[in-house]
Symmetry: C2
Amino acid sequence: MYELFFKNMTEKVKLTRDQQQMIRQYLVPKKIRKNQYLLQEGDVAKYAAFVEKGALRAYSVDEKGTEHIIQFAFEGWTISDMYSYMTGEPATYNIDALEDSELVLLNKSAQEEILQRVPEYEEYIRLQLTGAFMSMQKRITSMLSLTLEERYIQLTQLYPSLVQRVPQRMIASYMGLTPETLSRVRRKIKERWE
Amino acid sequence: MYELFFKNMTEKVKLTRDQQQMIRQYLVPKKIRKNQYLLQEGDVAKYAAFVEKGALRAYSVDEKGTEHIIQFAFEGWTISDMYSYMTGEPATYNIDALEDSELVLLNKSAQEEILQRVPEYEEYIRLQLTGAFMSMQKRITSMLSLTLEERYIQLTQLYPSLVQRVPQRMIASYMGLTPETLSRVRRKIKERWE
DNA sequence: ATCATGTGTTGATAATTATCAAGAATATTT
DNA sequence: AAATATTCTTGATAATTATCAACACATGAT
């Protein structure tokens, strides 16, 4: 239990055994089944979830009922509705599981207590946020400057497990396209390599 | 000098006078003129820049020479090529000034020393990054789920100074559109309100 | 194993945005 | 103030993507 969570953290910051034990008290394990919700829009996001095993997505639903996937999270990633988590306001996003998943949950007040008792945890969060920031910035850059083919190829190279474990209609949604267009993009890539 | 920088920081974390004085040692003031570069792609981003006064943009240039604006920064915002700053690799982005600007520069090793001597600075960075993360997530959500009119209206509401101080062709670039299309979007909004 | 449901592909057509070009308006330079 | 450069708007056309529909294939339920 929590192997990946602590492996991930201790790769970034040095923690004593005692500190790790202390943090462990605040963690809540959770298993969810494929298609099960972790968060529904309108509720308050009480937790940030670290993915120990499995895959999740965060998505918003527009007035026409179309889903727009904002984020995927595989093993080693953290997912939440950050605004709702930080402010206690109703969540914008739904979060559900693409596969049976094992999560490590941390609520906000627990995080605050950890931060007071383990200062190194602050550094861990900073490094995590920095990684997420860079990742998102790269995504926006790609959306603005690359062709669809280039974007898809980049996705498969940066996140190979995405393409293997996620249905194509969801990859299309993540890219802001219809499934039909993504199918055409993939055909064009294939033709270019024959 | 540095008024906004310290105002911004002390709104987020509590610092003693001594701590503030200590941090001040590491800061470098810089004035740049409109259109002057702060960073050119290919160079290493030695600094993160806090905007005391003025406005800057970060943009990438694609193979056709088209500029894609990734970020604007007005007073109170920080701008850099985060990946280059963190890793010492060559920068992807150019950063230049849209107006005569006054900046507060902080290089990476100075940041690391501050972090060791003022633990509260860690919290400040975390809170800053959290804000930036939420802002970027909102931007991606809008790009995926809103019509162009809705996106433009949202921009003018979230960042009124953007629309007043930035040429429209740059707003179009930031939105991923041509100037012609943005002009048409604005006309449609106007017709809708008459 | 069979049936039902979901996903991906394909073609045709409609809608949206990019590209090109020119004119009008605004900003900058002399 | 006049001249020049830049920006914004507009129209026409081309290119790209969305929408609709049908079929083939894959997956899930019984």
